[in-house]
């Protein structure tokens, strides 16, 4: 099953390669990875989309927690959350198709961020389903290039991820 995992890490040199190495070394999947500094410049958030059965996800979460530089790991499957990703699309746009493209962008609340005589560059944000629907519509018109971020996510409501201490290890608590 697909999981979005948020990992708070020390904003230090080499941490990304520790995380990436953990996934490759143990044969775990990374579908996408977004990394950026948080409000506290000593901490970065990595949002990782991964997949696997329950046992694999449990291992992934535990192994991430085990890394010395990892402060906290949150599996969004256990929380109600909102997530967004962004895609930049360069499409063919001639006299015949421009109108239609504009209409679709309007419906999906995207924006045109660059124009050339033969192309539009479109920026669109949303959750995975929305982006999928938009891409399906725009594809027949001729996508020249596509770049997308992975999703980033936060919990709904007032819940936040506390950063002050390492999450107590799983295992002792469960069924306890």
């Amino acid at each position: 099953m697909r999981h979005i995992v948020s990992v708070l890490v020390e904003n230090e040199f080499g941490v990304l390669s520790r995380i990436a190495g953990l996934f490759s070394g143990r044969g775990f999947n990374i579908e996408s990875l977004c990394v950026a500094e948080t409000l506290d410049p000593t901490i970065s958030t990595m949002t990782i989309v991964t997949s696997g059965n329950d046992a694999i996800i449990e291992q992934i979460l535990k192994q991430l927690n085990k890394l010395i530089n990892v402060i906290k790991v949150v599996d969004f499957k256990e929380l109600d959350y909102v997530s967004r990703e962004m895609v930049l699309i360069k499409v063919n746009a001639d006299e015949k198709t421009r109108e239609e493209i504009l209409r679709m962008i309007e419906i999906f609340r995207g924006r045109i961020i660059d124009v050339s005589p033969k192309t539009y560059t479109i920026m669109i944000t949303g959750d995975e389903e929305k982006l999928k629907a938009f891409l399906a519509l725009i594809k027949p018109l001729g996508i020249k290039e596509l770049v997308r971020t992975g999703p980033i996510a936060v919990a709904r409501g007032e819940k936040t991820i506390k950063m002050n201490e390492k999450q107590q290890s799983k295992g002792g608590e469960e069924n306890g």
Binding site: I68, K166, K170, G172
Partner: protein, 563 residues
């Protein structure tokens, strides 16, 4: 007054109580080498960097203290990789200091540059590149703390040459606080209660214990708990010595070359209490058929070990010593629950006694010199009071089977990685930690050739380590698989050329002996054990002897091939 990075480094080692380092110099170590010239830290100069790390590992396994090695950049650093991976698999606390080219040159493919932090990332517990002399003392402090706390492991610290030359005030931090690293030592009380209920209701319980008992120093608690309820105990290879090998409740080692009794006990048990063991494939055999009737309780300080290979019914993250103490308290306080013990499990005890009697560890005595016999004699002659290291292969398995380990830290063996060439340098480290003790490396003729250069180290530092080479002319354990599964095609496993080990020992200035017949074993071993010199003993054993019992790969534990 400001000090150089090299001086800060040496002062920091002293603050950590380091008495010995295992080292090999090079261009990048020179500042530190020179600072050590004025220190009273013992510097054991090895002959190969792999030897330095294995020696520091042997020192750590024998003493429980953190082992330290220091090597140069580039090839010096890359030569440590096997040693680091060995320590990582077996959770051994060591700190490896590698020197690095100047910070300005890092990434330039400079002479003797290697990205050792990158290369060792998957096989260290943690690693540091010291980019600024201001961070050096703190990093040394953290490195030792991380190496020995939680689930122990190797930590690498890479020190560029300009950092060891730079000047800074020396102030050693008093405390370590790493917000992202807080191991759990105390087991969850509710889970411990559940555990005790499960044990109280069981009819066929087994304690399955590993290296975690050794590293947390829980041997006394384990014995006390097992005796309180008469629960039988099996050990993994790493757990040997954690429970006395001559104890009536001891079942022997389990797994691929485990005893019949241990493997049958696991297969038939209804509750397994796993402590500080990680359900390695060599211990479990076919995972799907491992302990089919048992509820499994797993106590481990490392949450990733729990439910990794085997689904666990009661997980407890915590230090085994701590958890065992709580379990003993419950047994003592809750007399009502355990009223029936040990009568409740008397049938079980009978089954076990029968297995032990009907299928003991054994081998065929036929007039040839049997390796098992040699190990039995070593046990009798040392009365189990030596520190035994092993290489990897048949020598290791026979040692695990036929030497009774009575105390924790009396066996030093590469369990997880299975590193040939480990035992001899590790025995050097153990001898440094315990100069008065008899330290014996039980080797094969294949393994010993992988780090034989360390004979020079043993001779130079007057370390009277004994190497007993069970010389069968084969890479025996691989040969054994070829015999059983590849129709005796002994491709690559026949060592057709080997040195004359007696002459080789003498060439290094060590003592050399040869044993060819059973009746020579006692006299020569006795002499060798008392000669106070580094010693090689070339024992010409029966060449095609195999290790039994043998659970074929991917077979369930109950399907053992016996002698």
């Amino acid at each position: 007054m400001k000090k150089t990075g090299a001086q800060i480094f040496v002062e920091s080692l002293k603050m950590e109580g380091v008495d010995t380092i295992f080292c090999y110099p090079g261009g990048a170590t020179l500042n530190i080498t020179d600072a050590l010239h004025y220190s009273d830290i013992k510097q054991v100069m090895v002959r190969h960097e792999q030897g330095a790390v294995h020696a520091s590992d042997g020192y750590a396994r024998a003493s429980g203290r953190v082992g330290v090695s220091l090597v140069t950049s580039g090839p010096g650093a890359t030569n440590t990789v096997t040693g680091i991976a060995t320590a990582c698999m077996d959770s051994i606390p060591i700190v490896i200091f590698s020197c690095q080219v100047n910070t300005m040159l890092i990434g330039n493919d400079a002479f003797q540059e290697a990205d050792i932090v990158g290369i060792t990332r998957p096989c260290t517990k943690h690693s540091y590149l010291v980019k600024d002399v201001k961070d050096l003392a703190r990093i040394v402090k953290e490195a030792f703390y991380i190496a020995k706390s939680g689930r122990p492991g190797p930590v690498l610290v890479d020190i560029p040459k300009d950092v060891s030359a730079a000047l800074w005030e020396f102030k050693y931090p008093e405390k370590v606080y790493i917000r992202s690293y807080q191991p759990t030592y105390i087991g969850h009380p509710g889970q411990i209660k559940r555990t005790m209920k499960l044990i109280a209701s069981s009819k066929r319980p087994v304690l399955y214990t590993g290296g975690g008992i050794i590293s947390s120093g829980a041997s006394i608690e384990l014995i006390k708990f097992a005796e309180a309820l008469s629960i039988p105990v099996t050990n993994t290879l790493m757990g040997l010595g954690g429970f006395p090998g001559n104890h009536p409740l001891f079942l022997g080692m389990l797994g691929m070359h485990g005893t019949y009794t241990a493997n049958m006990a696991i297969t038939s048990s209804d509750v397994i209490i796993a402590m500080g063991a990680r359900f390695d494939d060599r211990a479990t055999g076919k995972v799907d058929e491992f302990a089919p009737h048992a509820k499994i309780i797993h106590v481990d300080i490392d949450p990733t070990s729990i439910s990794k290979n085997i689904r666990v019914d009661v997980p407890i993250v915590g230090d085994t010593k701590n958890v065992l103490k709580k379990m003993i308290e419950i047994v003592e306080d809750d007399k009502e629950t355990f009223r029936g013990y040990p009568d409740t499990i008397s049938e079980w005890s009978k089954d076990i006694a029968k297995w032990k009697k009907d299928y003991p560890l054994t081998y065929v005595r036929n007039g040839t010199l049997k390796p098992q016999y040699v190990i039995e004699r070593i046990y009798e002659l040392t009365k189990g009071k030596a520190i035994i290291s092993t290489e990897v292969g048949q020598n290791q398995m026979w040692t695990a089977q036929f030497y009774k380990f009575l105390k924790p830290r009396s066996i030093i063996t590469s369990g997880g990685l299975g590193t040939m060439g480990f035992g001899f340098p590790a025995s050097i480290g153990a001898q440094i930690a315990f100069p008065k003790m008899l330290v014996i490396d039980i080797a094969g003729d294949g393994s010993i050739q992988m780090n034989i250069q360390e004979l020079a180290t043993a001779v130079q530092f007057k370390l009277p380590v004994k190497v007993v080479i069970l010389n069968n002319g084969y890479l025996g354990l691989v040969r054994q698989w070829q015999e059983l599964f590849y129709e005796k095609r002994y491709t690559w496993t026949h060592l057709e050329c080997a040195p004359d080990f007696v002459k080789l020992a003498e060439a290094y200035g060590a003592a050399g002996y040869r044993i060819e017949k059973e009746d020579e074993v006692d006299t020569i071993l006795k002499e060798a054990f008392h000669n106070n010199k580094p010693t090689l003993i070339d024992v010409r054993v029966n060449p095609e002897e195999s290790v039994y019992p043998f659970v074929p790969p991917l077979a369930p534990l109950r399907e053992m091939i016996l002698v």
